[in-house]
Symmetry: C2
């Protein structure tokens, strides 16, 4: 790491998830890209220069721009503008009882990021569809902070169809959300190390519907997410950045 | 339209689909973005300044970068660099016997672009997931050129699951492919008029597997696509650009 502060880009989908983080770090809003709804917040956090890049609110639907396409575009624009040393996809996510997960668990990402909704049965394309984008080693960091480690799997839907379940079983993923693989794709293309921090709002294999769990637990998970993001930032060191 | 040539951006996913078009228009390869695998080709076509932006080959999987995320990133980078007056998503696609479609049909897009694999059952998010990104009016253009018009629906998979079928029935889409909604999302954010040109390689409701139909018919459909793209470019006029 050079004398200048290491730059960490944190990509987030929802304003409600980002607000406690930008508040805790006292980040100031800064200019984002003109042709995207993104909102960016920047400031110093301990030894780091941090940019929290939120996908922003869709102008036509007045909802947060969730999903892989807005996340990838936000990441791309932020990498161009900020030239980060590390990209973090942070947000809330689902997990499974079968893995022993509970609401409020915090996961750091495993060594790959996968998609479970890209089925392309043409020679060579199926593995491309899964993606398996590289993530940095997070085990030591997770152990120091008391977090879990699991493979994060991404789709553009909140639910889990039988087709999704088959793919998720194949990847062994423990965390299910809607942006990380899109972020990781861009980070891979740009050659920037990548990780994720995900706080669990819902259990996919619980009898309660996912949307209801999500709504009920979003506030608690968001607070835990903010604490986890701040804790990770304070723990980051050169070894973390380069442990691919 | 000003005295300077109108600029048309054509976003394509596969090199094999783009090659006959760049050859017919005698476009020269130009510099694309450094952090994406895109390959860009630019030149004059009649009264137009044309950029064909191909998503490019994935460095790790050695296959064309198909799907919404690479298409959206390519579109975003090309809009930044080229400032087009019109964006066209061009490529091969699937259609349905039930609509009277046959292999080799050429479709121009309808007035909206939808996703059929983004199911988000949270208040306000479901319609966001569908997208319904605006497309320009193409009926007159299609009538003049002998093409069909249909709503284009996008997912990141080659197949059609029961969940997909339900969404496709709801949207009334006649053309199914893997990029257009991602391209249209970016065009909408940037306020650039958008359309698609799609040549049919496979019938989704045919007994033959889609991958086999796609492989068997790709070459023929690609030639028809190239002829269609050139024909559309020659027909484009100011009325087309602004008929949203």
């Amino acid at each position: 790491m050079s004398d200048s502060a290491a730059r960490v880009l944190i990509v987030m989908a929802m304003e409600a998830e980002a607000e406690p983080i930008t508040a805790a770090l006292r980040l100031a809003e800064t200019t984002g890209p003109s042709d995207l709804p993104c909102r960016w917040y920047r400031g110093a956090a301990d030894h780091l220069d941090v940019l929290v890049a939120v996908n922003g609110v869709d102008a036509r639907f007045d909802v947060d721009s969730i999903g892989t396409v807005p996340a990838a575009l936000n990441t791309y624009a932020a990498i161009q503008a900020f030239n980060p040393d590390l990209v973090i996809s942070a947000g809330t996510a689902g997990a499974w009882h079968r893995d022993g997960s509970v609401v409020g668990d915090v996961f750091l990402s495993g060594v790959s990021f996968v998609n479970h909704d890209r089925r392309i049965e043409l020679r060579g394309f199926d593995a491309y569809g899964v993606g398996s984008h590289p993530g940095i080693q997070t085990r030591d960091l997770a152990d120091r902070l008391g977090f879990k480690v699991g493979i994060v799997t991404t789709s553009n839907s909140l639910d889990e169809t039988p087709h999704d379940a088959e793919r998720i079983e194949a990847s062994g993923a423990a965390v299910k959300e809607m942006e990380a693989a899109g972020v990781a794709y861009v980070a891979e293309q740009a050659g920037v190390p990548m990780m994720a921090i995900k706080a669990i709002t819902d259990l996919v294999d619980d009898p309660a519907p996912t949307p209801q769990q999500f709504i009920d637990n979003l506030s608690v998970a968001t607070e835990l997410l903010a604490e986890a993001v701040v804790a990770v930032l304070l723990e980051l060191d050169e070894e973390t950045f380069t442990s691919t």
